[in-house]
């Protein structure tokens, strides 16, 4: 009895699964090329330009940037740029405040919406509306609201009984608060949606089992629901953090980064340097630096996720 592995000529050596993978690679090739074009090409371009003195006023197209290469001078300047670091810092502050507030508000709302109650559908629509509004329009809306004799002040006067006439948008500190309020108003619904989906994904049987074992609501939430929602929460936080960092429309409409640079975030700074000061090579450097920062931020989130996945897969294989 021979145990030969001679192949019949022309017969495929690959299993069906392997053939499938090969076909898959060919079929996704167009998309892969497109992604490279959209992503890698501009990316390379930015890096290239950021290493020169080139600007639109030079009179030559961008690929002539090699004529004014300065390697890392732009980056060195970036490190010393107080305005840059200021705007980074302010953006960071906004992100640190806004994201947790949106998270907890969203979570609270999601918990409310798990069970049924009267008029739930109506409340759903109302709750999701802020997200549908164009950010710039939302910015304008809040601009009006936060005027000195505008609705916000009047509302506060009504509630507290005192005559409240705060200066919002022209005050360096209050403007911050106004912007955060606007962002929270607009994006809490997104958190709410994502977290609600996560909550609904908690297996109902396990919750029932916990109830039958005598657990109260808080114990069920803490021990069963929250651990199951870990991945969803990480996703929601990472998405929102990265987006918060890029905050532009609402803020520009409300304060234009003012008063002065009191509310100038990194996006506003980049906008001004690009269109007002026209130092495009410098902007490229800024842009690239911010990209790296956000990638790191997102990377942390993905690492947490990947860790959870890996632990799970390991458990499957070990036995």
């Amino acid at each position: 009895m021979t145990t030969s592995t001679t192949t019949v000529t022309g017969a495929p050596e690959l299993s069906l699964a392997q053939q499938g993978v090969k076909l898959g690679r060919w079929m996704t090739l167009p998309t892969q090329l497109l992604l490279v074009f959209i992503f890698a090409f501009p990316g390379a371009m930015i890096i290239y330009v950021s290493m020169s003195w080139w600007g639109p006023l030079d009179g030559v197209p961008w690929y002539y940037a090699y004529e004014s290469l300065n390697w890392f001078d732009n980056y060195a300047e970036l490190l010393e740029d107080e305005r840059f670091w200021g705007s980074m810092w302010r953006t960071f502050i906004i992100m640190i405040v806004v994201v947790p507030v949106e998270f907890f508000l969203g979570l609270g709302l999601a918990i409310l919406f798990v069970d049924n109650f009267a008029l739930k559908r109506v409340f759903y629509s109302v709750l999701l509306m802020p997200m549908m509004v164009v950010p710039a329009v939302a910015g304008y809306m809040f601009y009006i609201l936060f005027q000195s004799n505008g609705p916000i002040n009047q509302l506060l006067s009504l509630i507290t009984g005192y005559e409240i006439d705060l200066v919002w948008l022209s005050d360096p500190d209050n403007a911050f608060i106004a912007i955060m309020v606007a962002d929270i108003w607009q994006w809490t619904p997104l958190m709410f949606l994502i977290l609600l989906a996560g909550l609904l994904g908690v297996p109902e049987d396990q919750l029932k089992a916990a109830t039958l074992l005598g657990a109260n609501w808080a114990q069920k939430f803490w021990r069963i629901a929250l651990p199951k929602m870990r991945i969803v929460m990480v996703i929601a936080l990472v998405i929102r953090a990265v987006e918060a960092f890029k905050l532009f429309d609402v803020m520009y409409v409300m304060t234009k980064g003012g008063p002065g640079v009191a509310t100038e975030t990194i996006s506003v700074y980049i906008y001004k340097v690009t269109f007002l000061e026209l130092e495009w090579s410098y902007v490229s450097a800024i842009g690239f630096a911010v990209l790296m920062f956000l990638t790191a931020l997102g990377g942390i989130g993905i690492a947490i996720l990947a860790n959870a996945q890996k632990k799970k897969r390991l458990a499957d294989v070990v036995d």
Binding site: M1, T2, T3, S4, V8, A11, P12, E13, S15, L16
Partner: protein, 363 residues
């Protein structure tokens, strides 16, 4: 003619050995069962025969032709999968027609074969329904029918009725047996239900951890298991096993105390051994008798036609199957007498059977 063979076939997935050194020959027109616990390699064998997997070594021969590396389409085998894989958007009739339409069989022939198969499986009235409107048993028959409309060299089925409830399974296995006889085709059938395997198979093979442990008719496997694994795995309730020692023609156990002679064990060197006797080969009496073991009734399961009586002798629980409806009280002292003719003896190391039948130890 469709003899299916595997010679020296092995398959690994990374570090895991799925099947190793498999040698099976299934002659034409045989109902052959592959039987074993989950993850023993049974499904892998089917996939190797079918061509969904390629072996790492060995030969696959179908109808006398080497098919080791041929793609599934070239092998002319028909498979029923465990999850049925019926097309949900097609009616039962369209599902049945599908394999023939694909192969561009002429329309009159398609109609004829579908009608014939539908009649054999009693699904003629269901042909216009979609799978969602069919019961589990009906869906199963449509899935089997879809593999029958072709005229393949052989049929392969992977646990096709395991998802049905007990009563339907009992009916379907008789139907499948009848069908196989009528169609006169080789059928290779994977299952983990030992009653099912014994009922349908002309011959069966027992698998353990990717290897074939025994091949034979259900009678042979049941009455002459080659290893203790086979003896334990085939037969429900499972065989009773007691550890002891074999020396110079005698087997002795201490828990419970038992001594018998083993005339059948020729040239067997002294060794640690295990005696096995099946639940239906035991008598449970209130009176003492020759060769009886003292015990107390541990549990009684009245199943109507027969009862399973568990008795505790020392630390050991022995299971007996007694016809009718015996009345025992829990804890009642009884005497258990195994039928010595039908005892098996296995080596403790390796599990090989070295003798069957015992005699009362004299003196």
């Amino acid at each position: 003619m469709a003899q299916l063979e595997l010679h020296g076939v092995s398959k690994r997935y990374g570090n895991i050995v799925a099947v190793e050194d498999i040698d099976i020959t299934v002659p034409d027109n045989e109902f052959f069962c592959i039987f074993g616990p989950p993850a023993c390699g049974k499904t892998t064998l089917l996939r190797l025969w079918l061509g969904l997997e390629m072996p790492d070594s060995g030969e696959i021969i179908i109808n006398g032709q080497a098919m080791t590396h041929q793609p599934p389409a070239a092998r002319n085998l028909s498979m029923v999968f465990q999850n049925l894989a019926l097309f949900p958007h097609m009616t039962a009739g369209q599902n049945l027609r599908f394999p023939l339409v694909e192969r561009k069989v002429p329309e009159t022939e398609i109609a004829r074969r579908v009608a014939q198969v539908a009649e054999t499986l009693h699904i003629t009235g269901l042909l216009n329904k979609v799978p969602a409107h069919l019961s589990g048993g009906e869906r199963q028959r449509v899935a089997i029918g879809r593999s029958l409309v072709r005229d393949p060299a052989a049929y392969l089925m992977d646990e096709p009725i395991s998802a049905l409830d007990a009563r339907l399974r009992e009916e379907m296995r008789v139907e499948l047996s009848r069908l196989q006889r009528e169609l006169k085709h080789t059928l290779i059938y994977v299952t983990h239900d030992q009653e099912e395997a014994m009922s349908v198979a002309d011959r069966m093979c027992i698998m353990d951890g990717g290897r074939v442990v025994q091949v034979g008719t259900p009678d042979e496997v049941y009455n002459f298991p080659e290893t203790v694994y086979v003896a334990e795995f085939v037969g429900s309730p499972p065989i009773n096993l007691i550890d002891g020692r074999y020396e110079k023609g005698r087997f002795t156990a201490t828990d419970p105390a038992l001594t018998v002679g083993v005339p059948d064990a020729k040239n067997q060197p002294d060794c640690d051994a295990v005696i096995g006797f099946r639940p239906e080969d035991i008598q449970v009496n209130r009176e003492v008798g020759p060769g009886a073991i003292s015990a107390n009734v541990y549990e009684l399961e009245p199943l109507g036609a027969y009862a399973i009586v568990d008795v505790q002798a020392g630390e050991r629980v022995i299971r007996a199957q007694i016809p009718g409806q015996p009345q025992f009280e829990l804890g009642e002292p009884v005497h258990v007498t195994p039928n010595l003719d039908r005892c098996h003896f296995f080596e403790s190391a390796g599990g090989r059977r070295f003798g069957t039948g015992a005699v009362a130890a004299g003196g």
